[in-house]
Amino acid sequence: MNKKIWKNKLFRWENALILILITEIIIFGLLNPKFLQARVLLGSINDFISICIISLFVTFVMITGGMDIQAGAIVGLTSISLGVLWQDAGLNIWAAVFVAILLGGICGAISGFFVAFAGVQAMVVTLGGQFLYSGLALAVVNLSSSSAFEGISGFPNSFIKLASGKIFGIPNQVIIFIVLIAISYILLHKTKYGRYVFLCGINKNAAIYSGIKTKLIIMSTYILSGMSASIAGIVLTSYLGSARADLGKELTLPIITAVVLGGTSNLGGKGGVFGTALAAVVIGIMRFGLVMAGLPTQYLDIPIGLLLIVAVAARTISSNPGFVRKAGKLFKRA
């Protein structure tokens, strides 16, 4: 019995991810020794911080059995709104940050409301949200005096420091990521709210019968993911020093990849924040390492896509021993 528990702990998916991560770092280190410098390794997070932040909270959505493909669009919307609020409405930059996070929450709430209360499929609603919010971002650009092509720049130094500063030699972005991991971990794994989120995904009817307000819980997960998208938008704006409407456009694939690779089932009820965080770093380091090894950025979708398919297929096969027999039968028939 005791042995079995140990075995289960040892063969957990998170450990496999850690193994993949270590392998990645060793391989990329061999390809390019510069890669192993702590400064480079820690600084690499600049390239994939938004994937890390958003996927943490999209995990919540997917655990309830939902799907969120609108987060990328919210990144652009909050980025440009932040710029317009600061430059054209004359708001204090931190007040603008606050409003931007609120805006992300509202965007999430709108989609979450339709998913939870009108019973529309999450995929369709967030697809609509993707169109809506990326369209609104363009509308917001028209409100500003800058053109969409240039974006809004010239932010105060204190705001720029948010993403590029360091505390005790650790980049702020790493600290932001760790804080958010802590928050989401406690929220999902240590609170009653987190148990409810899981229960909504495992058996919604049982959750309803035990008096849980499932609709509110489901809606709240979309609010969280919307807010995380706007935090990512703010960090990205701060790092790039310019607010643009088209930020985050290409994030959907890596976000979903991170969540699923992290062990969260897209059918709901299974998953965890820690796995997602690891998977996001695995993907990020892979992108960063491949670029450092000389692969053009446009090719990056190939390894990431393959990783996603192979990981999920391997997991399905390993959990289904009758698979080989069945596959043989199918081919015989065809």
Binding site: M67, F114, A118, G119, V120, Q121, M123, V124, V125, L127, G128, G129, Q130, F131, L132, Y133, S134, G135, L136, L138, A139, N142, T252, L253, I256, T257, V260, N266, L267, P296, Q298, Y299, L300, D301, I302, I304, G305, L306, L307, L308, I309, V312, A313, T316, I317, N320, F323, A327, L330, R333, A334
Partner: protein, 337 residues
């Protein structure tokens, strides 16, 4: 009366009514919109979307999803445009494009059925791989200098109004509609999407049907890619980026349920026309076409929410009817004893 009921129940009719209403309203504001020439321009502009939506309808009817068709369009367009530029025959270019579509569809289908990867994950991954392959294949460069004759094909018209592309697309859509609704094998798709275990029990090859659906989807995406080459005349590595979302939205607008089993390809085609005419409509209403995506998003959400509420009410009504029928039956049974 039966006919009226049937029409009311057909979801594509409400989409068609919406399309007509939209055109009439825009025509009232700006009469030039309703000129025959402009209407045909609008319809001609939607052939690529119609083909994509009809293709993906196969997959959605089965209750699955395919988000790789934008990349499939891009790769088949790049491959065929390169062949045409280098002087291959049209036939070779068309066969190559379709081979690309079939291959990607087969990979998707096998991944979803044999390896049991959830379809959104599988096709999202394939989307990334195929999109990257376009960069590998083209070296990140544009494919230009497509022969003039091939480009002229998109302008060739039948009786001076209908382009051959539009005519072909309409015929293809109608044929597919009849295959899907009138033939035994064609109805497998909706059966699988409506009730997978039920379909298995009555002996429908569920996995085979899904693979065929993905292959059909790939072929239609490849055809859309060929039309893209002819219409646009050059292929960038980002060609077709985001088209998959527009095709899915078109299907939803046309009354196809993403849960599977419900909807027709005619609806998908109507949805694509709505989808692709929005930006044109905005221009005629003298708005910036920047608001294209905003309107599409609002429309999409409104339509599915309304649809979901109506369906829920209908289900409730049917349940009540069944319940009252059962109680009546029980009362009747009691008096017999």
């Amino acid at each position: 009366m039966k006919l009226v009921n049937r029409i009311l129940k057909a979801r594509e009719i409400s989409s068609l009514a919406f399309l007509v209403a939209m055109f009439l309203i825009v025509g009232a504001v700006n009469p030039t919109f309703l000129q025959v020439k402009n209407l045909f321009l609008t319809f001609n502009g939607s052939v690529v979307y119609i083909l994509l939506a009809v293709g993906i309808a196969f997959v959605i009817l089965c209750g699955e999803i395919d988000v790789s068709i934008g990349a499939t369009l891009g790769l088949s367009a790049a491959v065929s445009a390169t062949l045409l530029r280098d002087g291959s025959s049209w036939l070779a270019a068309i066969i190559a494009a379709i081979a690309v579509g079939v291959t990607i569809g087969l990979i998707n289908g096998i991944g979803v059925t044999v390896f049991k990867v959830p379809s959104i994950i599988m096709t999202l991954g394939v989307n990334g791989v195929v999109r990257g392959s376009i960069y590998v294949y083209t070296n990140g460069k544009w494919v230009e200098n497509v022969p003039f004759e091939f480009k002229a094909l998109s302008q060739a018209t039948f009786m001076n109004a209908l382009t051959y592309f539009l005519l072909g697309t309409i015929i293809l859509t109608v044929v597919v509609h009849f295959i899907l609704t009138k033939t035994k094998k064609g109805r497998y798709f909706a059966a699988v999407g409506d009730n997978m275990s039920g379909a298995t029990l009555i002996g429908i090859p569920v996995e085979g049907t899904k693979i065929v659906a993905y292959i059909a989807c790939g072929i239609f995406a490849a055809l859309a890619g060929l039309m893209y080459v002819s219409r646009v005349g050059f292929v960038t590595p980002t060609a077709g980026n985001g088209y998959e979302m527009k095709a899915i939205a078109a299907c939803v607008l046309g009354g196809i349920s993403l849960a599977g089993g419900v909807g027709t390809v005619i609806g998908a085609a109507i949805g694509s026309v709505i989808m692709s005419s929005i930006s044109r409509v905005l221009v005629f209403l003298q708005f910036s076409s920047d608001y294209d995506n905003t309107i599409t998003g609002i429309l999409l959400i409104l339509i599915v929410v309304a649809d979901s509420l109506i369906q829920r009410r209908l289900a409730e009504k049917a349940r009540r009817k069944r319940l009252s029928a059962r109680t009546l039956e029980e009362v009747g049974g009691g008096s017999n004893e």
